[in-house]
Amino acid sequence: MIRVLVVDDSLFMRTMIRDMLEKDPEIEVVATAIDGVDALKKINEYAPDVMTLDIEMPRMNGLEVLKSRSKAAAFPKVLMLSSLTSEGAEMTRAAMMLGADDFMLKPKDISAVRGIGKELIDKVHNLVSIAYVRRVEKPPEALADRLVVIGASAGGPPMLDVLLSSMDSPIPAAMVITQHMPEGGFTASLATRLNRISPMPVKETESGDVLLRGNVYISKGGYHTIIGAHVGENGMKGGRIIHSQSPPVHSVRPAVDRTFTSAATTFGDRTVSVILSGMGSDGGEGMAAIKQHGGKTIVCSEEDCLVYGMARSALSRNCVDKVIPLKQIGKEIARVVAGMVN
């Protein structure tokens, strides 16, 4: 049983979050708290495993709660619930730095998306089941000659947790993950979270980043991630991140299609592409381009996805090599990458 404390100053939010969580038989909401002061009290009282934490609250806000972390004897894992603004993104980033374990955007349009609570439930499970990794040695700074690109949207973040934590050792390729998120800085927080649980270092992309072997890059929100060509000083060929501000594609930026298509041009048959959960049709065209250039294409099976729109757009183009469950994707990537010998 995972014991959860729900902290939010809005009764509406508390009720909704609690209802969502309690749909899972393994989660028990042991208490709710109306502000930071109440939260600290309830942590001592109930010793929960996980706490969902709102940021804007009277008396004591979410950040101040996190600052009191060191004073408490046992502190639960913290899942920040963030609002979808640039201010919210800043706060989330600050919270992650203060030791929040993960964050999630506050649920939107609960009536339209069935099972929207799944993402929340999955995150809570991941918080207790996925341990932080301690990377002892840095990967050698070598230009990556192979590239893994992953595209995801709604329902994606908890899947990335599972995928990255299931890869038990660094792979000899660079990995670029394009996850739809509102711009403003949430992708930096996503990178922070993933960096803690992945065997490979994870960072948010910056324009000009040279893709290095064994490193993971999260597409920065608000820009398309273009994979440009790059040749190292020794004449070795590789790739480089270029942030493009051209208009959103499928109303999103970063668009998976833009990352995938440019990856196909630059890395050709040394590209492995994966599509996870996501609404809409972004990714299908890009995956088709990768297939056309001789790269590999993998799609997650439907039962593991909150929404199957993006995957379906790829499947409808007959460009998918494999449809496999989420838990196997990490291993499959490692296997395929290893098979692409220089």
Partner: protein, 655 residues
């Protein structure tokens, strides 16, 4: 109720709280630059927006988002609070209320003028000369712009054109390879229009380590700079429409250190001491009502047990009953107390109303509220809002004069309107007092004659008080012009009726030229009523004390039959006499006369004896019995007997 319906009602309840909080603090903000108010409004707008997003009420989400943004600017000191800004915000907050009403009725809460409202707020953002961060100028999320890769090769028309001049280092081994990589990456983000020297020349390496590219691209300057700045590039210039942007030469092989965490120290929100209204648990009022019912049953049954015990004389039982009795009384008192809420709940809305009406009417009003902490039973409070609102509107509309008129009369320009509440023993007295022109009794008299309510002769005989009382007459209005605020002729009569339904009364005192005072007297609760217990034909009956004018001996000599009806002469006053025989049976020994009054009409009834006065809980008649004329409910005193409560209104109104 489905889960979603439950969320919806939760949403509405909490949104209303947030809305009230916004209005309250907006008004506070108008009078003083309060940081607390700014923080409170920001947080309420923020909460509202978040909830609305969850419920997918897009209109509300957008409007609240805009409001939140405005307060973000105010909070950061980038925008000053002005009268004009307050107006925009108040309009928006009114709209929020209207949208909530719509949502409550099952609508989507999207008003037709949403765009205007949103723009009205948005135009404040970025005013004051200091723009927000780069986030605030993000380009609008365009719709699905055709297929991916649209910018390469066929750029959308109108994409900006750039010129790049790139100088490679002398140590560069393969200038052609470097150039090709740059050209390839440029093609990924735009359309290359021209290469100087010619592309084939560059690809053959036959150029002096310097080449120029002309390109159209919508990827932005930064993307082009990133591409131009790569290994072995000594210098690069990107020119956009004539403007030159030199790019610093790149260090060789820019390998990004991955350990560098991109931490910008997030700005901490100012810690503000929040003044929140006491917010404990929320209980549906209907649950309190059922609890109250249970407590009442307990009271009744305690009475019965006491009666039973009396017949047995068991000492321990009596002691225990005493204890129970005390607990039950405490419980009852506590229940009454729980139902009490401070008047500030409705008082808080009025400053806003006063401000609006005063602005519209071109009047200057100092509005003073006192005694907002006085408590009233929730059921009484619910009915009080409209009458108070009406009286306040009247005071500004008819009472307080225009500033110039006031000055001419030697009064301060600004009129004063006082709304105060205080406790007087068990009752609550609410006073609304203005220092306006008062009621012109002469005007009222003329109007009453005009409307045919009285003859000129009758009018001469009436006192000033009696004349003023005509204001409460249905259909009476003396406003010289009809405004949308008052003067429609429905008003004071409705106010009086409403108050009476709450078991309260209203009095008016007015001096011409000095002002008018309305005094409302309200019982603290409606659930418990003070009654007079009487017996008619041996049967008990309760009469609400507020209807009883006096009790007198019944002198049969003063009974006269006029028009087939018994009437009685009491101190020169002729009043109809009711024996209530049809209800209680003919009583052989009626000796006492009780004078009843309802809305200035008097009646008398004959009773056998008066048992006394007591506080009782009135319960409505059960649905099985239905409505019974003359009886408003029943009460059960300690002995367990069911006693009817007389409905004086229906008896008096009978002709």
């Amino acid at each position: 109720m489905s889960e979603l319906d439950a969320y919806r009602s939760l949403y509405i309840a909490e949104s209303r709280e947030n809305h009230e909080n916004i209005v309250k603090h907006l008004l506070l903000l108008e009078t003083e630059a309060s940081e607390t108010a700014i923080a409170e409004i920001f947080r309420s707008a923020h909460s509202l927006k978040g909830m609305s997003a969850s419920m997918d009420f897009k209109g509300m989400e957008r409007l609240c988002h805009a409001m939140e943004d405005v307060f973000q600017e105010i909070r950061n000191g980038k925008l000053a609070v002005s009268r004009e800004l307050m107006d925009s915000l108040l309009v928006a907050s009114d709209q929020i209320e209207a949208m909530l009403d719509d949502i409550e009725c099952g609508g989507p809460g999207i008003p037709p003028n949403l765009d205007d409202l949103e723009n009205e707020l948005k135009r404040w953002i970025g005013k004051g000369g200091i723009r927000g961060g780069p986030e605030s100028v993000t380009p609008p999320a365009a719709g699905d712009t055709s297929a991916p890769g649209a910018e390469s090769p066929g750029m959308p028309a109108g994409a900006p054109r750039y010129s790049l001049a790139i100088q490679l280092t002398d140590t560069c081994d393969n200038p052609n390879l470097r150039a090709m990589i740059i050209l390839q990456n440029l093609e990924e983000v735009g359309t290359i229009e021209r290469v100087i020297p010619d592309r084939s020349v560059v690809e053959d390496g036959e150029f002096g380590r310097r080449f120029e590219v002309e390109i159209t691209s919508d990827a932005g300057l930064d993307a082009l700079k990133t591409i131009a700045t790569t290994t072995d590039v000594l210098s690069a210039t990107v020119t956009e429409g004539g403007r030159k942007t030199p790019v610093p030469a790149s260090p060789p092989a820019p390998v990004q250190p991955l350990e560098k965490e991109d931490i910008r120290t997030a700005k901490q929100p100012e810690k503000v001491e929040k003044s929140r209204e006491v917010k404990n648990i929320r209980v549906d009022i209907s649950r309190l009502d059922s609890m109250m019912n249970l407590v009442e049953d307990l009271v009744i049954n305690r009475g019965r047990i006491t009666e039973i015990a009396r017949g047995h004389q068991i000492k321990e039982l009596d002691e225990t009953l005493n204890m129970i009795g005390r607990s039950v009384s405490d419980l009852q008192a506590l229940m009454m107390d729980i139902r009490m809420i401070p008047l500030s709940h409705i008082f808080n809305r009025f400053p806003r109303t006063v401000r609006d009406i005063a602005n519209r009417e071109g009047k200057e009003v100092e509005f003073i509220v006192e005694g907002g902490d006085t408590e009233l039973d929730r059921s009484v409070m619910d009915g009080l809002n409209d009458p108070l609102l009406h009286l306040i509107r009247n005071a500004i509309d008819h009472g307080i004069e225009r500033p110039e008129v006031r000055e001419a009369a030697g009064k301060p320009r600004k009129g004063t309107l006082l709304l105060s509440a205080r406790r007087d023993r068990d009752n609550v007295i609410i006073t609304i007092k203005d220092d306006g022109q008062g009621i012109h009794a002469e005007k009222v008299r003329k109007k009453a004659i005009e409307k045919g309510l009285i003859t000129p002769e009758e009018a001469q005989a009436l006192t000033r008080e009696e004349i003023i009382d005509f204001l409460f007459h249905p259909g009476f209005s003396t406003a010289e012009k009809i405004t949308d605020i008052s003067g429609r002729g429905v008003g004071l009569d409705v106010v009086r009726t409403t108050l009476e339904s709450l078991h309260g009364t209203i009095k008016v005192d007015s001096r011409e030229g000095e002002g008018t005072t309305f005094e409302l007297l309200l019982p603290p609760t409606m659930a418990i009523v003070n009654v007079m217990m009487v017996r008619i034909n041996g049967r008990r009956c309760a009469i609400p004390i507020h209807n009883v004018v006096e009790v007198a001996g019944l002198d049969t000599g003063n009974i006269h039959t006029i028009g087939g009806r018994e009437t009685i002469l009491l101190r020169d006053e002729v009043m109809p006499l009711d024996r209530l025989d049809d209800m209680f049976g003919r009583s052989p020994a009626t000796e006492i006369l009780v004078v009843l009054q309802h809305q200035n009409r008097k009646r008398t009834i004959a009773v056998d004896e008066i048992e006394g006065q007591q506080e009782v809980v009135i319960k409505p008649l059960s649905k099985v019995v239905g409505t019974v004329r003359g009886i408003s409910g029943v009460t059960i005193p300690g002995d367990g007997e069911v006693v009817p409560v007389l409905d004086v209104n229906s008896i008096v109104s009978e002709t």
